[in-house]
């Protein structure tokens, strides 16, 4: 799985986490009290720090604000060109909730479940980047199946499931399992062709 960028970013985070107990320092705003609230920000792999006393932090409304979030990271990921919002894509709008692809690029969050269908083109490569896969293999809601069949979406076929599994075992270098899966896929595909 290609997750190089994530790893780099996370390494930076880890380094932050490792910074041991700090020497006593004074608040960077008032310069009087001891700094007890520490913020760390990662922007383009550059770490910047802010050390404040509790009073000043509260005045700035910072004391309870996290300094780093997945959504920020994701926005970075999109802006860094992993999924460049193509010009024709940027204007695509979700019919259900009105969010545009450009807006999604800006806030890093989708507007509703229907956005997934609307922004497919840009989302699929992004999902692959994040998860290393684009085929759900976990549980299905019991109620969801009924709703979905109305929408004419098919659950993955046996072949598709085997293919997803194949991708996974190859990634984990379990080649014996991969070979047996490949044979199963071939057999199934032959059978399907005959039936046609």
């Amino acid at each position: 799985m290609d997750c190089g960028l994530w790893n780099n970013l996370w390494t930076v985070v880890c380094f932050q986490l490792l910074s041991e107990t700090r020497d006593e320092m004074l608040c960077q705003i008032c310069g009087k009290n001891e700094a007890t609230v520490h913020f760390t920000e990662v922007v383009n792999n550059q770490v910047s720090e802010l050390h404040l006393c509790e009073d000043c932090a509260q005045k700035k409304g910072l004391s309870i604000q996290p300094h780093f979030s997945i959504a920020d990271l994701l926005v970075g990921l999109i802006n860094l060109g992993i999924t460049p919002p193509k010009v024709e894509e940027a204007g695509v709008k979700c019919k259900n909730c009105g969010l545009t692809y450009a807006q999604f690029g800006k806030i890093g969050r989708l507007g509703c479940g229907e956005c997934y269908q609307a922004f497919q083109k840009g989302l699929v490569p992004l999902l692959r980047k994040i998860h290393g896969s684009i085929q759900h293999r976990g549980k299905f809601p019991k109620k969801g199946k009924r709703v979905l069949s109305r929408r004419e979406e098919k659950p993955p076929s046996a072949v598709e499931k085997f293919k997803a599994e194949l991708a996974r075992v190859v990634e984990q270098e379990e080649f014996e399992k991969a070979a047996s899966l490949r044979d199963k896929i071939r057999a199934l595909e032959k059978k399907e062709q005959k039936e046609k």
Binding site: A71, N96, L110, G113, I130, R137, K139, K142, P155
Partner: protein, 352 residues
């Protein structure tokens, strides 16, 4: 159960029991779910967020595992009460400020919790003490099943559960384990270890989740990948890595004890000395010293008959600002809090 009763008890996840509780504080499973077609909370209008609140509350009332829980609207709580809930890990830090049309359901013994209108419409979390991911998954799967009978989840057979942030798409499952790794931190191997963990597709964070720093050598390890694997595979993967880290930590403890026996003894008893005698203490210092006491417990320098692990785990939570103020029933400035905190710790450790 009433809101004001929470202060007198502590969550089940702090009890210091369960598998590997020496190293693992707690195991948490979180499932992110959304209602089909309705915009996600950040993009929804007030009326839609209200609709979500009533839909989910109605479903929870019919759900055997949640119906006896406490349903609380966050916009009806004071800032202090919201801080109090965040310190107990029952709501996220974002929700302290962002509280309009948001709610939380707190199950018995604080094992199950539901956040409504946080990043997603519904976030179910199950927390257990010790390394108990499988059990936490079993319970969350059961509650999820009960809820889905009365809710239409946004779901696609291709992409799974559809969430506001594409990092949660698929299973919507985040398994996270809160670990205490003081020996590895002393030996400095932790740097390499955490880098390796990140390469395995797992994320490392501080005590209060996303965006917080690892004070007191507490680390939260969780999966980053949610799509393309079954829930069981995701949990097995993280469980395997956690068990390996536990082994490293236990080895590091032996090494530390062999190499620097007197330094470690000194450090532990000094920590105890400060905690038993301080008249003013900040929460940062408290967390550091309690972490050292926990190391002393793990190494057998202090016996568990003298200090229960549960008591130390609880002190981490009840010495935090909002807890101190709730207990004192009034607002306190930072200096008053440091005084109250020192007093509380002295009382709790008086018998040693």
């Amino acid at each position: 159960m009433k809101f004001e009763d929470l202060i007198n008890k502590s969550g089940e996840w702090l009890k210091g029991e369960g598998a590997y509780s020496e190293v693992v504080i707690s195991s948490r499973i979180r499932l992110a779910r959304n209602i089909s077609k309705i915009p996600f909370p950040h993009w929804a209008k007030k009326t839609n967020r209200e609709r979500i609140l009533s839909l989910i509350q109605a479903a929870a009332v019919k759900c055997p595992s949640l119906k006896r829980g406490l349903f609380i609207r966050l916009d009806q709580l004071s800032l202090l009460d919201r801080q109090f809930l965040a310190e107990r890990h029952l709501i996220s830090h974002e929700q302290i400020r962002d509280n309009k049309e948001r709610a939380v359901i707190i199950g018995e013994k604080e094992i199950a919790g539901v956040m409504i209108n946080e990043e997603d419409h519904l976030r179910l979390q199950i927390i257990f003490s010790g390394l108990e991911l499988q059990e936490a998954w079993r319970i969350s799967n059961k509650i999820d099943g009960e809820l889905e009978k009365n809710l239409d989840y946004a779901f696609s057979p291709k992409w799974g559960y559809l969430t506001a942030c594409p990092t949660n798409t698929g299973t919507g499952l985040r398994a996270s384990v809160l670990m205490h790794l003081p020996a590895l931190a002393v030996s400095r191997d932790i740097n390499r270890l955490l880098q390796a963990v990140a390469k395995l597709g797992l994320a490392v964070r501080g005590l209060y989740g996303e965006g917080t720093q690892a004070t007191g050598n507490y680390f939260q390890i969780s999966n980053q990948i949610c799509l393309g694997r079954t829930e069981e595979e995701l949990i097995e993967n993280i469980d395997r890595v956690i068990k390996q880290i536990i082994e490293y930590e236990q080895n590091a403890k032996k090494v530390v004890l062999n190499k620097s026996r007197s330094e470690i003894h000194d450090k532990v008893f000094r920590a105890l000395g400060i905690l038993k005698n301080a008249r003013l203490i900040t929460s940062q210092e408290t967390i550091g010293l309690l972490s050292t006491i926990r190391l002393g417990l793990a190494l057998g320098i202090i016996s568990e008959k003298e200090v229960e692990r549960r008591k130390i785990n609880e002190l981490f939570i009840i010495t935090q600002p909002a807890h101190l103020q709730k207990m004192g029933k009034k607002e306190l400035n930072p200096m008053e809090r440091d005084e109250k905190r020192a007093l509380l710790i002295r009382e709790k450790l008086a018998h040693i």
